[in-house]
């Protein structure tokens, strides 16, 4: 993507709502995600960054520290660190220390593999560090189905270690799927049990998620179930503002949208730095179409954030096509760009999970072409950690085992 020579000056309304201001972009992101590595011990079926193998061009420790220095200068007060599995980088704890001592608070996402009692005690002794353990099922069956065998036990052990060490308020981060929406109360109970806070986010068809989205994404009636649950329990539950496509439910009920931004923040208030320093508009859009630049090649992160052509496009007034005619447009503002892009829908059309049903119509359209997933870091040869997404079921149309045409037994084919 081109980096503009000069920074375009946008005419801003005086006062105005925060949403109007956010749509025009900020001087630095509010929420920055930084994937430290594409290497991962797990091979989750729905990994949005298609992680597995380390990229040999990964930023070095010194380069990472330079990024942290720049974030401190830009007054980016915290970053969400992820991967891959960030804790398997040998310098992870060093970088964590470095960030915190440079006024850049850290929240990191982990599957828990390295959170032994000793690390848990270290984390409990730090300020400005938040830990988020990924768990996509409240039971091993549901979790391991997508995250791989043993991953439930790893996560629960990590939560127990954190609790025993006196770490306060860890987060349990759940991607909501067709298989786990019925477990929301169980997730909440699990969080309460470990003194943790529940965080629910939306499944995106990004990365390997595109391959399994059809099977995993919540059904329309489950969207309603999720929305109602959030309204009833939402006060103590974090959502990363990721369910704004559900806000039309509230407006239709005569209420208001879900709390939060209710706006696509891509390139406006959020972005992603990947392990090799590529800057993307959003954590769910690791694709050339959303690549703003590289912080090594294009003069640093601030330059990319403030001057990239892509980001300046995203900050200029957008057209939302037919959606603008919808009575609920103000509630969802067209939904999630990444969800549209990776399901092959036009960016100025409805979200694939539009609660008014426009998404289903669009998905059924014949001229839909799925984009190529260019950035695949999946392991070349799957390991024993790979989830096997198969379940044994009976064919409903069969009452008995099939009978061979050569069966000679006079009772063949009889059922009793």
């Amino acid at each position: 993507m081109t980096i503009l020579e000069t920074r375009p000056v946008v005419a801003r309304p005086e006062g105005g709502s925060l949403i109007e201001q956010f749509e025009l972009g900020l001087d630095a992101p509010i929420c920055l995600t930084w994937e430290l590595t594409y290497a991962c011990n797990l091979e989750c079926a729905h990994c949005l960054s298609s992680s597995g193998k380390r990229d040999p061009r990964e930023l070095s420790t010194e380069q990472c520290k330079d990024v942290i220095d720049e974030l401190q200068r830009m007054l980016v007060f915290y970053v969400n660190i992820g991967g891959g599995e960030p804790t398997i980088r040998p310098d992870f704890w060093e970088l964590l220390d470095y960030a915190v001592s440079h006024d850049v608070g850290v929240k990191f996402s982990t599957n828990g593999v390295r959170l032994n009692p000793e690390r848990a005690r270290f984390l409990a002794s730090t300020d400005y560090v938040d830990v988020q353990i990924s768990l996509d099922g409240a039971t091993p069956e549901v979790n391991d189905y997508v995250r791989g065998p043993g991953s439930y036990d790893t996560a629960i052990t990590a939560l127990a270690n954190l609790q025993d060490a006196g770490f306060k308020d860890a987060k349990i981060s759940v991607v909501c799927t067709r298989q786990n929406i019925g477990q929301l109360d169980e997730f909440k109970a699990l969080a309460d049990h470990y003194g943790a806070t529940l965080r629910l986010t939306r499944l995106r068809p990004s990365g390997r998620g595109a391959d399994v989205w059809d099977e995993l994404h919540p059904l329309p009636e489950q969207q309603r179930e999720l929305y109602d649950w959030l309204v009833a329990n939402g006060e103590d539950v974090l959502t990363g503002d990721s369910f704004f496509h559900l806000s039309a439910f509230g407006v239709a009920d005569g209420g208001s949208a879900l709390p939060g931004l209710n706006l696509c923040g891509a390139g406006r208030v959020v972005c992603l730095i990947d392990p090799i320093g590529d800057v993307y508009a959003c954590p769910f859009a690791i694709h050339d179409n959303f690549l703003a630049g590289n912080l090594l090649a294009d003069g640093g992160f601030e330059n990319v954030w403030q001057r990239s052509e892509l980001f300046n496009d995203l900050r200029s007034p957008q057209t939302s096509g037919a959606c603008t005619k919808c009575a609920f447009f103000d509630a969802c503002r067209g939904g999630c760009k990444a969800a549209k892009f990776f399901t092959g829908l036009p960016l100025d059309g409805p979200d694939p999970e539009c609660v008014q049903g426009y998404g289903e119509t669009a998905l059924a359209s014949a001229d839909r072409v799925l984009p190529e997933q260019g950035k695949d870091h999946s392991k070349t040869n799957p390991t024993r950690n790979q989830p096997i997404m198969l379940t044994l079921t009976r064919r409903e149309d069969l009452q008995a085992p099939p009978v061979s045409a050569c069966a000679e037994n006079p009772l063949a084919g009889f059922t009793f």
Partner: protein, 97 residues
């Protein structure tokens, strides 16, 4: 309540950093990790000016806020106080007591 705050001395909380933005500022509290936006440049000036003034009234006067707008500004400051973005100044006498 409104008039009471006008006569009190307030400071920006030591755990809070202000980041300038085109429309005002973003305030971040390193302790409770709350994020707040100051949507007007004038409010940013008032918040930054608190520490240098005897009380909120003189801060507003110094920033050139007309008296008719004071209730709005005091309400905004009370909102910031609710999340510990600003806190009442502890004078040395009170600290000793």
């Amino acid at each position: 309540m409104t008039t009471q705050m006008l006569d009190e001395a307030w400071d920006l909380s030591p755990a809070v950093a202000l980041r300038p933005e085109p429309f005002g500022a973003m305030a971040y509290h390193f302790g409770n990790r709350k994020l707040t936006f100051l949507k007007r440049m004038e409010l940013v000036e008032v918040v930054r000016g608190l520490a240098g003034c005897r009380d909120v009234r003189s801060t507003l006067q110094t920033a050139g806020v007309s008296e008719a707008q004071w209730p709005g500004y005091v309400a905004a400051l009370q909102g910031l106080a609710a999340t510990d973005m600003i806190r009442p100044r502890v004078t040395s006498q009170e600290a000793v007591a």
